[in-house]
């Protein structure tokens, strides 16, 4: 994840500055790779509203947490409502702050503060925050989820499973390909793929086609692809589905050969 910090120089050895609105630079660091981007801050000459301007810049650069010395409560509140984490009273080198963040030192401090402030052993403030974040992430996914469920309904009604048998030709290569393609279109519990697979075998379809169908049934999905792209990105979703599809084509002869089945 990316974190943003007001700093006095455009590198990781810079000192974390107290306020966003008067920072010389804004540093946005990827906590995993330590890659960073530095942009010129408003510095001490800027007027009121410069803090919000810098915060907007940080959010626009993908920051999910802001580390600083001090932040105005109204800005912090707005950011926290949008799921951006605010960590105050951060001092020292930017690199050290990132390491402390990675180690979870700030989490322990926040938890200790929450425990100190709340008498209840269940820490309602922490649970409330967690619930708000989970709800925000969940609601953000709902439109795509609803779309996928509607699409699955259409596929189930307009793509009769009996039509599957028509595409198989008892040629291991083509059966593997068509089986994998059919599995992409069909969704549902893996048990259904076993039942359909057994039915196909009884109808004389080769094990290659059935194995490919069962593998791609769970591994690859065209219907849920928009949802996967929406949540995890096109590079992830398309890459994963294409790679899995190609691996299935390679794995089918291996499975059929090792299990001693008839092609």
């Amino acid at each position: 994840m990316k974190i943003a910090m007001p700093v006095d120089a455009p590198n990781l050895d810079a000192q974390v500055e107290n306020r966003l609105g008067t920072a010389s630079y804004l540093l946005v660091v990827d906590t995993e790779t330590l890659d960073f981007e530095a942009v010129q801050g408003p510095s001490g000459t800027s007027g009121p509203g410069s803090g919000i301007q810098v915060v907007s810049m940080a959010v626009g650069m993908g920051a999910e947490a802001v580390l600083c010395g001090y932040i105005a409560p109204y800005i912090a509140q707005t950011l926290e409502k949008s799921g951006i984490r605010i960590i105050r009273a951060v001092r020292g080198r930017a690199r050290d702050a990132v390491e402390e963040f990675q180690r979870g030192d700030f989490d322990r401090t926040e938890e200790a503060e929450a425990q100190h402030g709340e008498e209840s052993p269940v820490h309602p403030a922490l649970w409330r925050g967690a619930f708000q974040r989970a709800a925000r992430q969940f609601v953000g996914m709902l439109p795509v989820l609803i779309g996928v469920i509607l699409l699955v309904g259409l596929f189930q009604a307009f793509f009769p499973r009996q039509a599957l048998t028509a595409v198989f030709s008892k040629d291991p290569f083509w059966d593997t390909l068509w089986g994998a393609c059919a599995g992409i279109l069909l969704t549902g519990n893996p048990v259904n793929s076993y039942v359909i697979g057994q039915t196909l075998l009884d109808m004389g379809v080769g094990l290659c086609g059935v194995t490919a169908l069962m593998l791609s049934w769970v591994g690859v999905g065209l219907v849920q692809l928009p949802a996967e792209i929406g949540v995890l990105g096109a590079r992830f979703a398309v890459g994963r589905n294409v790679a899995t599809f190609l691996l299935i084509l390679l794995a089918v002869p291996l499975i059929v050969g090792l299990s001693g089945g008839t092609w």
Binding site: L145, I149, Q156, F158, G219, F236, T244
Partner: protein, 171 residues
């Protein structure tokens, strides 16, 4: 939420309306099928939400990076594999959970491995054996697990290429 987020379900709804005019009976069956899927997905969705709540409450970015980040090693592979294997219900019920895990710092390799390992279902193994025999079922399950890891490695590599940091391991 993005303003365009509802575009996809709205397009599908328009498709329903067009198909309803053309073939009302079959579209009615599609509505029933979608309602059935909604019923099926409700419990896994609830489960996913509870897991997201627990994740947001107890798992810090530091934990996610340590156990499921790029440098989590074999332990990370085992954890994401086990999580994928025990996850139940339709795959799309788990997308919000995966998005939440990624926000916390889990790597793309582990997210892809989670999705791929869902093909391995030990609880369904007795049924699979009854249908296809133990030898086929065993080979099928083992190869499925390897496919998941290989596909996840490809995704990890793509993600690494996307960040421009070629020195990072894919998982």
């Amino acid at each position: 939420m993005k303003k365009t987020a509802w575009a996809f379900p709205l397009v599908v709804l328009v498709l329903y309306l067009v198909l309803w005019v053309l073939t009302p009976d079959r579209t009615g069956r599609a509505v029933m099928a979608a309602a059935h899927v909604l019923g099926q997905v409700s419990f896994p969705l609830l489960l996913a939400f509870v897991m997201m709540l627990l994740l947001n409450r107890f798992v810090t970015p530091a934990h996610a990076t340590r156990f499921l980040g790029r440098k989590s090693g074999v332990l990370g592979v085992l954890l994401s594999s086990a999580a994928g294997i025990v996850s139940m219900g339709p795959v799309y019920a788990w997308y919000p959970f995966l998005a939440s895990l990624r926000e916390k710092g889990a790597s793309d390799f582990h997210l892809a491995n989670f999705l791929g390992q869902r093909a391995v279902k030990p609880v369904l193994l007795p049924l699979m054996i009854a249908y296809f025999g133990w030898r086929f079922s065993l080979v099928f399950s083992i190869v499925s697990a390897f496919i998941a890891i290989l596909a996840a490695t490809v995704v990890g590599g793509l993600s690494r290429a996307g960040t421009g940091n070629e020195n990072l391991p894919p998982f």
